[in-house]
Subunit: 578 residues, 2 copies
């Protein structure tokens, strides 16, 4: 009974075992997360081009649904910068900002993302996320953070700035620079400076004043909430709205009503591809974050359950007037540090947001938008990672190309194009590398049965044998290269009787490569040279047995390269040093 | 002087060395090829939806240009079935058949193909063809042959049939079946039967009558030309045109005039992507054919020079009122068998076609279209290869899936979609296979220094060591799988002190995989387990030296797996038999 209930609602496992000892940690964490989430929720809604209250709506039911289905105990779900910017980019193409159609489309986008994530989870397709390489993800996140920060500069200084790539945003900033509003800039600049200081030095200062380090750290995390309250009070006191400072304005009071999103098939099909991309990006961001946090406490994340939980969260967001949600980086880290023990912390945070939506929205009327812009800029600035570019530069050319291309495409073309370019390029580079496999002439390391590259090691070779180690699986993309390379190598050698292909690194031989091997066998045979294989792995051998290649092969298949050489050698050439 | 001239016009090499001994073979081959090429050129022009004379135009200058630049001595270039059908599919989407716009677009398509091929050749990008796997190519060719044959049934029986996929063509055949023209069917059926017999039995019969086998084979190859002449004479004699048999009709007399194709930028950009696809398909077909023929005489083909030669041929085709050309299968084989020694054979064939265009076009007025349909059906029927499907089924599931999907997509969706689906699917399947690499627990084969899978071989293992052989390069798509799999394996073993990763099959470790290895190292270390590597290839080792991974690694990197185990083992577990 319990087991089957747990299959349907995995939360049953932690709910059943819940006890008072866990409550304190969960409650404190929920309080801190709520204080961070309110400004972020409002800010990311504006970033997505949506009314501020939709940020609150996306932070109530989705948190509850995620808590019911997730395997992560500490991931904090809700609106995040990346998917909000993506929402703006996608929905902005099909509807005008501030129009009802725009809101409808954003809600449908969340619904689609939710359904896609849910289906991917049910069909156990979490592996799709593997196609996003680390360089692509970091390049994409870094470039997106720059784009997001840039897009907020306009709100920060009180001038309009639009565009989905760096060039457009910069251009529109420069064109409107005359209309910058100095009072807005003053408020935003103060908030920005305060938040920067809070992140860099507040904890240290509070500890210096004698506060316990843990408490000091928690208070520093509440800096955005303090900035929100302070700037709202100032804005109210001096009626900044009448002096030209943009404020959030009317926010409907109360909880969202449940409703199905628009079922317009044209809209659904128009958004489907983008929804797939956003779903995968949101999933990758969430799951890598959840994995990092879980690993610190020796807990495990089940990617397919995360897909279901994020799917449920997005569907519930769409059905309660919210937009796309995912796991937020800064909030999750704070949730973890503040001592969240179970998914209950997320549920308590949902209650916190619900209370804000019920009672505090009138107070948010005076909140200056520039405060929210400063909040976003500080939040995303921590995502910019230049170190990984340096690391890639030092480690591998192709990773470096992938990361730079992803950054360039994201900044210059836009956020969707950036991630697509990154994925395509990293797959193409990987295929390109396997297309011209490294083929080494090898000889035996004296005193061992081990064979290494003649160019790198002092090894024993034989004049009538050439041993070739093929450093790649053989498949269609490198089949003809293999053929050309072997003919070229063989044509340079005199007195050759045997070619032995050492297949330690050959994990697969597909039909195209089998055709190439047959041609090689035939052609070498015509020249009086016998072809042998050695150290063929069992799965590859099984496949070869299903063809007639082994009957046609002029030579033999040896268990080890050592045995092959022992039985075929005529003379011995002493090792030489390069 | 000679060398630099040869760089610009590679034909200089064979022209300089040309002597009378080569002339006989080249002339005979040219004569036979001309006799095959006339009906094929006319037929393929009609297949492409173009006026018949464009087939002749595409068979004069392109042959000369190809001969000047190619590395193949025997490939016969000109209109071919596959690219003609592709031309019809692509151009049919943007202009009505029989309109002037259709002709203009077909000429621009040839120009674009030519420029693309030329550029690919100059930038040495012949490797792109490697992405077409053998199963995809054979599946695509087989399905295209079926489509082409189907599309000719209409002309064969004298009823209209249209469509770019099997379903549409069949439907339009069935809808118009009442308008089948019995006299047309009679003529077409007779030609079909004659050509079929000629291919199956004519040589044998002629030899039985005492003719020399080589001559008999040549005469059999001229069967399409005989059918053309005979059916034209019959059509003229009994005025079949007046009885409702469609004939080729007026063909302008004379040689094509040189002219630049349309320079409409909208048209060029509309055709660009399709031109790329057609160029690559034409190139792959031509080069694999040229390679097969060259190998028989121990000659070599230079793919990048073939690109240039095919590019020049297509550009000259476009500039002389022709359409897309490539290397033709049946003609090239005949050219080879008839004894073509050098590219001069192609030039002589061009002269032959020019003579036909100058003097014989009025005679072609009465040629029944049904004869040409029968010629095409017989020509493409030899391209249908069912054997490769059976071979793929027996050998490898993924090759079988690729071939079946390519055939299905080509037949059901159309010829362009088919090849794109095939390429995409074969790349996706390849990546999918490398995504969950085979990781084997290995032990030492007694009496050797060789390690094999404990599940397959009787090997020696040790209780404090687990040796894992990773059967794949480590890159972003399998990095997280590696992590999960190693944790899972390690969690099942007690008393473990060392994990040794045998890296014989690891040809690359990219940045994502390096991150995964660092996590594994850290996490195993926390559990008191040391991580070692063995048999790391030099290129991989070079890369690792450019990171700080080797400093962080808790264990060592061993030259051989044998040495690693020797220095880490505590006890020995005797080999066991499964």
């Amino acid at each position: 009974m319990n087991l089957s209930l747990q299959r349907v609602v995995p939360a049953w496992a932690w709910m059943r075992d819940y006890h008072r000892g866990l409550l304190a940690g969960d409650l404190v964490a929920a309080l801190v997360v709520t204080m961070m989430l309110v400004p972020q929720a409002l800010a990311y809604a504006l970033l997505a081009g949506l009314p501020a209250h939709m940020g609150l709506y996306a932070s109530i039911l989705p948190l509850v649904m995620y808590a019911l289905f997730s395997s992560s105990k500490t991931l904090s779900v809700g609106p995040v910068a990346l998917t909000s910017l993506l929402t703006a980019a996608v929905v902005g193409k099909i509807a005008a900002v501030d129009s009802q159609a725009y809101i409808v489309a954003a809600v449908v986008l969340a619904m689609l993302c939710g359904l896609i994530l849910l289906l991917m989870g049910l069909f156990r397709m979490g592996f799709i996320a593997n196609f996003l390489s680390h360089p692509v993800v970091s390049g994409f996140v870094t470039a997106s953070a720059v784009l997001i920060a840039l897009s907020q500069v306009g709100s920060l200084v009180g001038l309009p700035a639009h565009g989905s790539n760096a060039h457009d945003i910069l251009l529109s900033l420069l064109q409107n620079i005359d209309s910058a509003h100095s009072l807005t800039l003053a408020v935003g600049g103060l908030v920005l400076a305060f938040l920067w200081w809070a992140r860099a030095a507040m904890t240290r200062r509070l500890v210096a004043f004698g506060m316990a380090p843990a408490l000091a750290a928690l208070i520093a995390k509440a800096a955005p909430a303090m900035a929100l309250i302070a700037s709202t009070l100032i804005s109210y006191q001096w009626q900044l709205e009448t002096k030209g400072v943009a404020v959030v304005g009317d926010i409907p009071k109360g909880l969202p009503r449940l409703a199905l999103p628009s079922m317009d098939p044209a809209l659904w099909s128009e958004l489907a591809i983008s929804a797939l991309l956003i779903a995968i990006i949101g999933f990758v961001e969430s799951v890598s974050l959840a994995k990092t946090l879980a690993a610190k406490r020796r807990q495990r994340i089940q990617p397919n359950r995360e897909l279901v939980a994020l799917g449920a969260a997005n569907i519930s967001s769409a059905m309660s007037g919210g937009f796309v949600v995912a796991g937020g980086f800064s909030r999750s880290v704070v949730n973890f540090d503040a001592g969240a023990q179970t998914q209950a912390a997320g549920m308590f945070a949902a209650v916190g947001i619900a209370l804000v939506a019920l009672f505090f929205t009138p107070a948010l009327y005076f909140l200056p938008e520039t405060t929210l812009a400063a909040t976003i800029i500080i939040a995303v600035s921590s995502l910019i990672d230049v170190g990984v570019i340096v690391r890639a530069w030092r480690y591998s050319t192709s990773d470096f190309i992938a990361i730079v291309a992803t950054i360039a495409a994201t900044l210059l073309l836009g956020i969707e194009q950036g991630v697509l370019a990154g994925i395509t390029l990293s797959i193409a580079l990987h295929l390109y590398k396997t297309m011209q496999p490294h083929i080494a002439v090898v000889g035996e390391v004296p005193g061992t049965e081990h064979f290494r590259n003649v160019k790198r090691h002092q090894v024993i070779t034989h004049s009538n044998i050439v041993s070739l180690r093929i450093d790649e699986s053989l498949y269609f993309a490198n089949a003809s290269f293999l053929e050309d390379r072997i003919y070229e190598l063989v044509s340079q050698l005199d007195g050759l009787e045997h070619v032995i292909l050492q297949c330690t690194a050959v994990n697969e031989i597909d039909l195209s490569a089998l055709d190439a091997l047959e041609s090689i066998n035939l052609r070498l045979n015509e020249q009086g040279i016998t072809l042998h294989l050695s150290e063929v792995k069992s799965p590859v051998m099984d496949a070869l047995h299903n063809s007639d290649f082994l009957d046609k092969l002029s030579g033999s298949v040896f268990l080890t390269q050592h045995r092959a050489v022992q039985s075929l050698k005529r003379d011995e050439i002493e090792p030489y040093i390069i």
